[in-house]
């Protein structure tokens, strides 16, 4: 689908982001409590591909997006954009790079200033980074509006006069204005009606072809990610637990969490949905302030064994998978294997029969 070659456009290396817990009482001698939003995330985004990032709320997807574009400072680790390390750049040195990476935000209502006309909003990146005159800018903005399927005559309207889908098109037009190399989409359709979602997704796919874009596409909806992604990374509690080409992941998820996540995705065919076994994970996402020791998923994993809670497994290929398909699990699922109902209760008493 895409030309994957050379060095990656974005390389994230052992990225760590901790947020200090506000208002937490600091005991003498104890370290300040932190939320482990990201803990050692490493991944690459290749030129021309779409990397989907999935995971439930609180898994660190959005934090990853914000650290990748340096909207947030990282605690440790590195982000290389186009070969350049960006986590230590000054704001001044970062500015030219901002042209190359843009974001599309989740909330089409919150991401547009309600007091500004859309022409001015879409023209913002041009006003910041170019010296074009007002008339030239207006022409470019109207071209952009046409490109994303908006009526250029609505140049002088306010965001309140547009529907959610139209507003997201405004966000897309703004992100596209400087012809960036990378667009990070942070749940771009999750706030939209299902009927509108497909329109925006198709728009994004079309634009990728037309402008040779690279996307990082964050979502919690697996069917949405499958539609647009070449590769998918599954995140759980601040870590990448599995990454693979989209088709491989959906065909044969290795990590129990990926499998559970896939089984939770709604299926449009009700007959099939009934026949399918749904794996319901027990418990909530553990506190990111005190993540479980060892494998982070171990506290909810039906296949958990004593070893899992000691040392966290590495992200690596299993069952002779190609290097592109990696998962971090000591007891990965084989092809066609599913987390069965019986096993789903196994967390109550770990079975000792299966030794590594």
């Amino acid at each position: 689908m895409s030309s994957v070659s050379g060095e990656p456009l974005v390389r994230v290396a052992s990225l760590v982001k901790h947020f200090p817990v506000r208002g937490a009482r600091r005991r003498r001698g104890s370290e300040r409590e932190v939320v482990h939003a990201l803990d050692g995330v490493s991944l690459e985004v290749w030129r021309g591909e779409t990397l989907g990032i999935v995971g439930e709320s609180g898994s660190g997807k959005s934090t990853l997006a914000r650290c990748m574009t340096r909207l947030q400072e990282v605690t440790a680790g590195h982000v290389f954009f186009d070969g350049q390390e960006i986590t230590s750049l000054s704001q001044r040195r970062l500015r030219p790079l901002r042209r190359e990476m843009q974001m599309i935000f989740q909330d089409p209502f919150g991401a547009l200033n309600p007091r500004r006309r859309v022409g001015s909003i879409i023209g913002d990146p041009l006003a910041i980074h170019t010296k074009d005159s007002g008339a030239a800018r207006k022409r470019q903005v109207q071209e952009l509006m046409e490109l994303v399927g908006l009526n250029p005559e609505h140049y002088n309207r306010f965001p309140a006069e547009f529907s959610g889908g139209q507003r997201q098109r405004i966000g897309v037009a703004r992100a596209l204005a400087l012809h960036p190399k990378l667009i990070v989409c942070d749940e771009p359709v999750s706030a939209l009606d299902v009927s509108i979602q497909a329109q925006i997704l198709n728009l994004l796919v079309d634009l990728r072809e037309e402008f040779d874009l690279t996307y990082v596409f964050i979502a919690h909806d697996l069917s949405v990610v499958r539609h647009v992604s070449d590769r998918v990374a599954v995140m759980y509690l601040g870590e990448v637990v599995e990454q693979a080409p989209a088709d491989d992941l959906y065909r044969a998820p290795r990590h129990p969490y990926s499998s559970a996540l896939l089984s939770a995705a709604p299926v449009p065919d009700p007959d099939f949905a009934d026949s399918r076994k749904q794996i319901v994970l027990v418990g909530d996402l553990p506190s990111p302030i005190h993540p479980p020791a060892g494998c982070r998923f171990s506290s909810r994993c039906p296949r958990q064994r004593p070893r899992c809670t000691v040392v966290a497994p590495m992200l690596e290929p299993c069952f002779g998978d190609p290097a592109s398909h990696q998962s971090a699990c000591y007891y990965p699922l084989a092809d066609g294997e599913t987390l069965s109902g019986g096993e789903a209760n196994a967390h109550l008493g770990p079975i000792d029969t299966e030794k590594p």
Binding site: L71, R95, F105, A111, N113, P114, D124, N156, R157, E161
Partner: protein, 328 residues
């Protein structure tokens, strides 16, 4: 959002250049449209305009009556033989004061002082308050901690006590602060009132900015590479302007009353300048014999503050229609 056919009233909104383009109505235009339909606010606006006209036209009123604001008419014309103020008559419509001056003319001139101090002190308070509030709210961290404490300190100082002591010190000897010389009079009153009013503005602005800073469009602007200055001016300021304007309208009557209080206590505008506060103070010994001397400056003060307050309420409702429970 669909709009009905344009009325003639809306025609002014059209930019002539873009007559063909479809023009959205800005939140400002919507607010003004709502304000126009608020009868109480429009009456209050009329009163405010009338008072401003009286202030501007005070010399004309003086010329029409033939009485200067500081001219003292001797008994028996200006006062009775006993030296008491004379009642309203065809000659002196609002009567005269204890020194034989025309109360009508002095009330008109008093409007000049009141409006000037009210508007200038408010302007000063709004500028300082907005700057401090924007800086504290936007930059946060240490800046916010320091500025928030300064605001707390300012709000904890009792205004009248401090203003009286400051103004009375200044009245004895002009204070030199570098090139600035503070002499008793309009300037010092404006500075004193402005200095004691900005903290509330700063607190309001800071609170608004704290909320706006978390909005996704601010993050979007940062992701586009906009600097702090650009974000504050283009994305933050327009969103806090509405509460600033509302509070400023309500701050004007407060400043007018503060100025009158200072003058009443003899530390505001020094005599013989006509001023409502000092007039009320001068009228006090005569209230049993000469009600007009006390009533007219009081009425002027009450009508002015009431009009500004009603107008301020109307503007607040216009900017936030949900607060009133009615839909516009």
């Amino acid at each position: 959002m669909l709009k009905g056919p344009r009325s003639a009233e809306d025609a002014w909104e059209e930019e002539t250049e873009q007559a063909a383009a479809i023009q959205g109505r800005s939140p400002w235009q919507l607010a003004f449209a709502r304000l126009r339909h608020d009868r109480a606010a429009m009456i209050a606006l009329g009163v405010v305009v009338a008072i401003a006209l009286v202030a501007v036209l005070a010399p004309v009123i003086a010329a029409l009556t033939g009485h200067g604001p500081d001219v003292q008419y001797l008994p028996p014309i200006g006062t009775t033989i006993d030296g008491l103020p004379k009642a309203p008559s065809a000659h002196f419509l609002f009567g005269t004061d204890d020194l034989g001056r025309d109360v009508l003319v002095r009330v008109a001139y008093g409007a000049q002082v009141s409006l000037l101090v009210g508007v200038l002190a408010t302007l000063l308070a709004v500028v300082i308050g907005a700057l401090v509030g924007l800086a504290a709210g936007y930059f946060g961290r240490v800046v916010d901690t320091v500025l928030a404490r300064v605001i707390d300190v300012m709000l904890s100082i009792p205004f009248l006590l401090f203003a009286i002591s400051l103004a009375s010190v200044v009245s004895v000897t002009p204070i030199h602060i570098g090139p600035i010389v503070l002499q008793q009079g309009l300037g010092i009153v404006v500075i004193v009132i402005g200095t004691f009013s900005w903290a509330t503005v700063a607190r309001i602005v800071r609170g608004q900015v704290l909320a706006i800073r978390e909005k996704e469009y601010i993050e979007a602007a940062r992701s586009l590479g906009a600097g702090s200055w650009r974000i504050i001016v283009i994305d933050v300021l327009p969103n806090v302007l509405a509460p600033i304007i509302v509070y400023a309208t309500l701050l004007i009557p407060l400043s007018i009353v503060a100025e009158a209080s200072l003058s009443y206590l003899g530390v505001g505008i020094p005599p013989p300048t006509a001023d409502w506060g000092s007039m009320i103070s001068e009228a006090q010994p005569y209230y049993q014999e000469a009600w007009w001397f006390l009533v007219f400056p009081c009425l002027a003060l009450i009508i002015t503050t009431l009009a500004f307050n009603v107008l301020g309420d109307g503007i607040r409702d216009a900017f936030d229609p949900r607060a009133t429970g009615t839909r516009a």
